[in-house]
């Protein structure tokens, strides 16, 4: 066959040429820059402007926060002296010494120092309780625990080298719990046995309660000693964990055909949504005292927990209702046609779809709730933001602002950002079913 045209055609290619590399103008970093940074005169201008802005701001921030910062000092004036002698008069630097000194206070409030391993353990077990809900296998828990132990080892070595007692830090109860839990997750972490871990998740609130407040074998700790980021976590996690189920029930109740149930749910939702959270907190802290007989010890933190959970539930109900309303009517009818009972239909057909649609809204409510916990400072509970006040009132640290608020902002950012990233991950994972 190949000889057929041998006489009539001057040349026939009988091998395939290797493809030429794409012209350098359309691949590589130069092309990327041309396409995404300098695609037009306007964009080029904007790019240069942004780079100039970054080059102007970032070095100044780095200089303040890192290069000219002070980590060890007893007071703000000592910080200022150190900065002045090291970097010359008029130099500006961050005085992180205040965070160094008050780190424990900002994290735990007035929780007794020798019992702080209990909140630590509770936080660690929170991760254990969350992993089976958030992920398909227990593998992430193994990584988390391994990471935690590695970090602890590094810190312990660093501190021992600096002459401090680092071994105490390494040999704390949390390390052992992390080892045990990590080991268990490594052995019994497959998808098949993962559901067993959910029993632990169910038991977690009780475990956390005993760890934090004491009782049984633990020394009791008064609620008034709670504060700092510990308080934020307690309120935030309880609010988040409580508001989703209550919110779903309220949303279903609002759609119910039973008039009384519907009316109760609508009234509740509309009332709570119509009142600012701060008002509810004042009711919890102040007004309730007048109604309760004097001497009743109705814990302030518990009151706040109830109020915050109710508040978040009302918002959650509306978010979930949005998801329920977005489902085509056919889905509800399909559930009926299959002969499923109301709860079966909800559990198997309606809610999985409705909740998937609502994920961005749900996480949005979670993040909002987490940040709203700072409002408790108004009723005298000392969350990290509330603690800045007594710390800045110490004559040693009077006048310090940026360092404290910056540190607290970082704490909140880490929490809110990871929630937002997880929701993106979840959306991506669940979208797989749409592509089927």
């Amino acid at each position: 066959m190949s000889g057929t045209h041998a006489e009539t055609v001057a040349y026939v290619a009988d091998t395939q040429y290797d493809p030429e590399p794409a012209p350098s103008s359309s691949t590589g970093p130069i092309a990327w820059m041309r396409e995404s940074l300098f695609s037009s005169w306007t964009n080029a201008g904007l790019t240069i402007l942004c780079i100039a802005l970054i080059a102007w701001i970032v070095p100044a921030i780095l200089e303040w926060a890192v290069f000219q910062s002070v980590w060890n000092a007893k007071s703000l004036s000592e910080c200022r002296e150190i900065i002045a002698t090291r970097f010359g008069e008029g130099a500006h630097g961050a005085c992180w010494a205040v965070i160094n000194e008050r780190f424990g206070q900002l994290l735990y409030g007035f929780y007794p120092a020798d019992l702080r391993w209990r909140p630590d353990t509770a936080a660690l077990l929170l991760v254990v309780a969350l992993v089976p809900i958030l992920f398909r296998t227990m593998r992430p828990l193994v990584y988390a625990m391994a990471g935690l132990i590695a970090v602890k080892v590094v810190f312990a070595i660093a501190w021992t080298l600096m002459g401090d007692d680092g071994m105490d830090f390494l040999l704390s109860p949390t390390t052992f719990v992390a080892l045990v839990v990590g080991g268990l997750a490594f052995v019994f972490g497959s998808e098949a046995v993962k559901s067993k871990w959910l029993y632990f998740t169910l038991a977690y609130p009780l475990i956390a309660y005993f760890l934090l407040w004491g009782g049984l074998i633990f020394e009791p700790v008064r609620s008034s000693l709670f504060g700092g980021f510990l308080l934020t976590m307690i309120i935030g996690v309880t609010g988040i964990a409580g508001s989703l189920p209550i919110g779903i029930l309220l949303a279903l109740g609002r759609q119910s055909r039973l008039p009384v149930l519907k009316m109760v749910c609508v009234t509740f939702i509309e009332f709570i949504r119509g009142v600012p959270l701060i008002t509810l907190l004042f009711v919890a802290s102040t007004l309730l005292n007048y109604f309760l007989p004097p001497g009743t010890n109705f814990d302030l933190i518990l009151r706040v927990l109830i109020m915050v959970t109710l508040f978040a539930s009302a918002y959650m109900a509306e978010v979930v209702r949005g998801g329920l309303a977005a489902l085509p009517r056919g889905q509800y009818e399909a559930a009926d046609t299959l002969g499923l009972t109301y709860w079966q239909g909800m559990r198997l057909i309606i809610l999985p779809q409705a909740l998937k649609i609502s994920i961005p809204g749900i996480v949005n409510t979670f993040i909002g709730l987490f940040k709203d916990t700072t409002l408790v400072a108004v009723i005298g509970l000392l969350d990290p933001l509330g603690l800045t006040n007594p710390i800045r009132s110490d004559a040693n640290w009077n006048g310090i602002v940026w360092e404290l608020y910056g540190f607290i902002a970082l704490l909140f950012f880490i929490c809110c950002w990871s929630m937002s990233r997880y929701s993106m991950l979840l959306e991506k994972r669940l979208r797989a079913s749409d592509r089927r």
Partner: protein
């Protein structure tokens, strides 16, 4: 109808129980094993947390003193940080036993709010701070000045009154918080900043160069700050009142943290000191406290002068002079009734 009667009876019984309970605060505190004390959420010199996370300060010391008098142990206090909005309701609803939170003793608070101010632990008043470079030495030279002032406070009203009375004009720069005031004032957005004199001193101590600023001598308002209890339990009010008085009397008679144990070991030649320290008479029993209550108070917190020096005095960063808060024998107005 029967149900209604029953409900009313229960409610009345509850209210009677409530008043009954209020009348025995001292017994309640003793049964509970600690004193619940309402304090500021943070005010330089008066209430703050130290590096170990313990509450300290001039107002906090009053809480410690009362606890020391009742239990002999100044650490038996549960502190309840209260904001300006929640402080009085917390006291009247029984959430705290005593309020020691730089609250000004005024007519309406004493009568309308049903509080009982048991005395004054700090005589404050509104003052002005200006940069030295301004060259002003008296508030009367501030005609036409721009003044940073916290909105919605009594200080705002005092300022207006003072300038009107002296036929001067000023331009207010409204601010919300102390830190905002500091920032504005340091940036020369206003010529002067006005608030309570103790607050001015505290604010000044945090400036990068405190010596470049001067607090003017004029004090334009009266702000007697003192601990308060609920009206209606006079026995409890007496306990707090005489704990406060014991601090002042101790300074007057030279009883200090260091020498109190020695002075209390045997009756000395000053009868009033003997009565204070329980070496003579049955004065503790009259207010249902142990005979050596004042010894415990002074050995755990010190006398008034020692407290002042520790938290507010010239050797602290706050750097306040005694001024009005000196004993009447030293030119101040601090005057405690006799222990007799």
């Amino acid at each position: 109808m029967k149900l209604l009667t029953l409900a009313t009876a229960t409610a009345v019984a509850g209210m009677v129980a409530a008043t009954g309970a209020q009348a025995q605060t001292l017994q309640q505190v003793k049964d509970r094993g600690n004193l619940i004390c309402g304090i500021n959420t943070g005010l330089v010199g008066f209430a703050f947390t130290d590096a170990e996370g313990n509450w300290q300060g001039f107002d906090v010391a009053v809480c410690k003193a009362v606890a020391a008098a009742i239990f002999g142990d100044a650490s038996k206090v549960e502190y309840k940080p209260l904001t300006g909005k929640t402080r009085f309701s917390a006291l009247s609803s029984g959430e705290v036993d005593v309020l020691s939170r730089n609250s000004t003793w005024t007519f309406s608070r004493d009568t309308d709010l049903k509080l009982e101010f048991v005395g004054v632990n700090y005589y404050d008043g509104q003052g002005f701070i200006v940069p030295k470079a301004l060259g002003v030495t008296s508030a009367l030279e501030l005609d036409g000045a721009t003044i940073c002032i916290q909105t919605g406070t009594t200080t705002e009203l005092n300022l207006a009154d003072y300038f009107r009375a002296n036929n001067m004009s000023y331009e207010p720069v409204p601010i919300e918080t102390e830190s905002e005031a500091k920032q504005k004032f340091l940036a020369n957005a206003c010529d002067a900043y006005t608030t309570d004199a103790s607050g001015l001193a505290a604010s000044r101590s945090s400036y990068p160069t405190p010596t470049d600023y001067v607090i003017l001598p004029e004090i334009i308002s009266k702000e007697p700050l003192g601990p308060a209890v609920r009206q209606g339990d006079d026995d409890w009010g007496d306990v707090v009142r005489w704990v406060l008085n014991s601090l002042i009397v101790a300074e007057e008679y030279g009883v200090t943290k260091d020498n109190v144990e020695e002075m209390a070991s045997a009756a000395g030649d000053k009868p009033e000191v003997n009565r204070l320290l329980g070496t003579e008479g049955e004065y503790g029993a009259m207010i249902n406290l142990p005979a050596d209550w004042a010894v415990k108070v002074i050995s755990s917190v010190g006398n008034y002068g020692e407290l002042f020096d520790e938290y507010l005095g010239p050797n602290t960063p706050v750097g306040l002079e005694r001024g009005l808060n000196a004993l009447y024998t030293d030119g101040g107005i601090l005057y405690a009734p006799p222990f007799r």
